[in-house]
């Protein structure tokens, strides 16, 4: 029997996680709730009179901060199932290449995060009258790139903190300095796309390319460092 390909092994791991999540939907609900709350809190913070007056810059910022905070919720759950019953050990004993495990975990986590984020866009449109429709597809692409960048680092950290007692306190604090460039690029691009008065879309092109380059770097470092980080467990 031919050995399953790297891609199919990664896909299988991703599918397993998504399948389990599909039944309980716990992460989607908790993450979604958190994201919506973050957006709401910001809308309260920016009320003046009866209206919420926020420019495209701020809306972009709010979106990505919500992604960051709620994404941390998803990430701390990434290895939850592996933690129980020492499942991580049996996973590591199998001949599946570690990079495939990483890729699978990354894909599953990113997919869950994306699902929630796509619901955030209409929420922003409703609360802040954000102009999401002119460039909806591009915004979706930005969400994808930003999520992958964020999760690529987050999966590594989540794996390393598998057994740590201070996991929840540390994960966000340690993750944020490293992913701020991702946040920066994504929100700058988003701000340009949400602004109907902007003369041209050059900044959006630039920041999208920057974000894609960051993603490549982070995923490569992630693929590379996953094995030694998780082998210590």
């Amino acid at each position: 029997m031919a050995r399953p390909s790297w891609v199919s092994q990664a896909a299988r791991i991703a599918w397993k996680d998504l399948h389990i999540e599909g039944r309980s939907r716990e992460v989607v609900y908790t993450m979604g709730f958190m994201a919506a709350l973050v957006v709401l809190v910001f809308s309260f913070a920016f009320i003046s009179g009866q209206e919420v007056t926020v420019g495209p810059d701020a809306i972009a910022g709010i979106l990505w901060v919500a992604v960051l905070f709620s994404g941390t919720v998803a990430l701390s759950r990434t290895f939850d199932r592996e933690r129980e019953n020492e499942a991580i050990r049996s996973l590591l004993l199998s001949p599946v290449p570690r990079s495939a495990i990483y890729a699978g975990k990354l894909a599953a986590t990113a997919a869950i995060m994306l699902l929630v984020e796509l619901l955030l866009l209409p929420l922003l449109a409703a609360l802040f009258s954000a102009a999401i429709w002119p460039h909806a597809l591009w915004l979706g692409l930005l969400l994808l790139l930003g999520t992958v960048g964020f999760a690529s680092v987050g999966v590594i950290f989540s794996a390393a903190l598998l057994r740590s007692r201070s996991r929840d306190a540390l994960l966000g604090a340690l993750l944020f300095p490293i992913v701020i460039p991702v946040l920066l690029a994504a929100s700058r691009a988003t701000a340009t796309l949400l602004d109907p008065t902007v003369p041209d879309l050059d900044p959006a092109f630039f920041w999208t390319r920057f974000l894609a380059a960051l993603d490549v770097v982070f995923v490569v470092v992630g693929l590379w460092s996953f094995e030694p980080v998780v082998m210590g467990e």
Binding site: V153, I156, F157, A159, A160, L161, L162, R163, S164, R165, S166, R167, A169, L170, A173, L174, P177, I178, I180, P181, L184, V217, F218, V221, W224, S225, P228, V229, G232, E233
Partner: protein, 234 residues
């Protein structure tokens, strides 16, 4: 076994000497710097350049060394690599703090503001924060702390090219890297001397700190061995 353990104090004298040499160098540098020609537009405040830039260089160097040590630790299980990563991260925090303090002082005098969110400053601040987070991960990370910190160091190293090249790619308030290669002749000697002495200081501190760290881990091994022996023969 205990007597063969190098006393941390004895090697100290060697380093105090080294440190004194470097401090002496500082005085020399001060004299040279004081005599260097004054820059036209900024006047005397520009002299901060002679200390600010070496500290920035040391921040980036420390990050790279930390990443290198982390690589050795992660991929070859090198304990020495792990110690190197820890020590250089500490030095990175130290000299990074110097950059982040001397920079705004210079900025206040030259541009009127302490801080601005341009790429160079922001990415440098982030780099420093990453090194601080490295320390936090090691101390409070629990079981996976060291490996997590090592992985963080790898990601932090990817920020360094961004810090360095950012001034060349984007137009910011901060001077570009071409400033160093186009220094006026009278400024070159003090600058490179200052750079060399700061690097020497960094090297001395690193070696000192490494020895202390090695003594610490040997001490731990010995303590465990002795306690084991005590248990077996009460």
């Amino acid at each position: 076994m205990l007597s063969s353990m190098p006393s941390a104090r004895k090697s100290n004298t060697a380093f105090v000497v080294g440190l004194l040499l470097v401090l002496h160098g500082f005085f020399v540098v001060t004299l040279l710097v004081a005599n260097a020609p004054q820059e036209k537009t900024m006047g005397i405040v520009q002299k901060i350049f002679y200390f600010h830039v070496p500290c920035a260089w040391l921040l980036m160097l420390s990050t790279f060394v930390c990443a290198a040590g982390s690589l050795a630790y992660l991929f070859r299980g090198s304990e020495r690599g792990d110690r190197l990563a820890l020590c250089s991260a500490e030095l990175g925090v130290l000299f990074g703090l110097c950059v982040l303090v001397t920079g705004p002082l210079w900025a206040r005098a030259a541009w009127g503001v302490f801080w601005t969110w341009d790429v160079r400053l922001t990415s440098s601040l982030l780099l420093w924060l990453m090194l601080v987070a490295y320390g936090l991960a090691r101390r409070y990370g629990g079981a996976g702390g060291r490996r997590l910190a090592a992985a963080m160091a790898l990601f932090a190293a990817t920020d360094v090219p961004l810090v360095y090249l950012s001034v060349n790619v984007w137009r910011t308030l901060h001077p570009t890297t071409r400033v160093v290669s186009s220094l006026a002749p009278g400024m070159r000697l003090p600058f490179f001397l200052s750079l060399a002495i700061f690097s020497g200081l960094w090297g001395v501190l690193l070696t000192l700190r490494m020895r202390v760290e090695r003594a610490q881990s040997r001490l731990l091994e010995l303590t465990i061995a002795i306690e084991d022996a005590e248990e077996k023969s009460p």
